[in-house]
Point group: C2
């Protein structure tokens, strides 16, 4: 493309709000059996993975989301060995999980193999750990996988797109019951649960649904600039361990840019307007 | 306007990134001696104040910014009586300051009287405290005001637009020296200092400049969804009090939606990628 020309990619974050990025090159674009998949080179965020016109991850800010969806739970569990990642085809969550020396196996269950392939090719910084011998990749529906694997995992991470289209079934009470059953007796579950500014009813409902299944439910926050409003929530359901009981002074030093032992504690401190959602 | 028709307002947050909101009505638009001023009614954020095509505040999310730019400093000072607000013509900072019973006087120094007038008319929820008898409004350049008022204020809050155009002089070492001189011997200064994702060099430079003048400099964070990336920084320069020494259990109960005693502490806990900027 003529370097003086440029295009904009626009995501409609809601029907009334749009985020647009200058695109210098379309590296990949296809219609998979599940969704539309594109990888753009952008000026602002570097390479960017887009599914059904929604930004999933970018080279510039992926560290926030991937560190926070993994390390908070992994450092809450006493000795996580076997972890399931549902979704997260870019491999970023798998990369972060493998930073923990206790890990023996990561099962990576992604419904759309095309996301994995595009990420391997165009996002090597994110997908780099997918060839690790501890990783088993299963291209299948995560909902089926948890139904068929009882008392198997120490940690289950649901690294999914928004709760519409292929990911809808990952946000409901019956799925949480199956996740509970697929976890060992001290297992922990984490799911990305959208924006406290734009998805207030959803967060309330999910918190209620997860609380209905797990004895301990906790919401935590992080800031992902390419997601609507920047402020993003994650919900943890835990059978035994409480992330607030972790002695953060004892946490191992990790190579991270957003997560830290101090953030492990403060990410659970919610502004009053977010606390309200959990009543 | 025909209710089935709609327009979009687009802010170019950087040359490569744009945020667009559906506008249902333009309530006000003028060229003042200083800047272009508009008030829009938007579907997503309610009424919105825009200066030189940059979103300043909206009914939906103004609480975050106004609570955080004021209460952190006011609750750090032992007994703030006299506060100066530079900029902040919408009145939101003044409204929050007046929630503190110790306050005797708020001097509100805004360079552009048209911002105050438009806010009085179209943003009464934000400007509602500007008629309080403790408030003195001065339509003048804040830089001149601090030069002419030695050892006068307990707290100075710089509630300014981005450091371009009329606000540029509010982000430099000579201004910080004048602010220092305008504060009493235990005074505190707070300034909004942009985004840790998009204004990294600026934050580093301002931190260095403020550290060069004040014995104690601290950066804190909050999440404002209408600002680029959502994550926003504030820098505090203090002559005596350290916000981290505050016994948050002793803080008075306040009617706030983002700020809380717990947030008073956690807003200073920085992710490693932000800490790096302050080295």
């Amino acid at each position: 493309m003529d370097p003086k020309l440029f295009l904009w990619f626009t995501e409609y974050q809601t029907k009334d709000l749009a985020l647009s990025c200058r695109v210098t090159r379309t590296l990949h674009s296809e219609q998979t059996p599940f969704q539309n998949l594109a990888v753009f080179e952008t000026e602002q965020f570097g390479r960017m993975l887009v599914l059904d016109n929604v930004i999933q991850t970018t080279i510039m800010d992926e560290f926030v989301y991937h560190e926070m969806i993994t390390h908070v739970a992994l450092n809450t569990h006493a000795a996580p060995k076997k972890v399931l990642v549902i979704g997260g085809g870019d491999g970023g969550s798998v990369r972060e999980i493998l930073k923990h020396p206790s890990i023996e196996k990561v099962v990576h269950c992604e419904i759309d193999g095309a996301v994995i392939e595009a990420s391997r090719k165009y996002l090597p910084e994110i997908s780099c750990a997918l060839n690790d011998p501890r990783v088993e990749i299963i291209v299948n529906d995560g909902i089926k996988h948890v139904k068929n694997n009882n008392s198997t995992y120490d940690i289950i991470i649901v690294d999914s797109p928004d709760p519409v289209g292929p990911a809808e079934g990952l946000f409901c009470a019956s799925f949480y019951r199956d996740v509970y059953a697929a976890l060992k007796e001290d297992g922990i579950f984490v799911e990305q649960t959208e924006s406290p500014f734009f998805n207030r009813d959803l967060i309330s409902r999910l918190h209620q649904d997860i609380s209905g299944t797990f004895p301990l439910t906790r919401l935590f926050l992080a800031n992902v600039p390419t997601y609507p409003g920047g402020l993003w929530s994650f919900t943890m359901g835990s059978k035994k361990y409480d992330p607030l009981d972790v002695d953060v002074a004892d946490l191992p030093k990790m190579n991270t840019r957003y997560y830290s032992p101090a953030i492990h504690r403060t990410c659970f401190v919610l502004p009053p307007f977010v606390k309200e959602l959990l009543k």
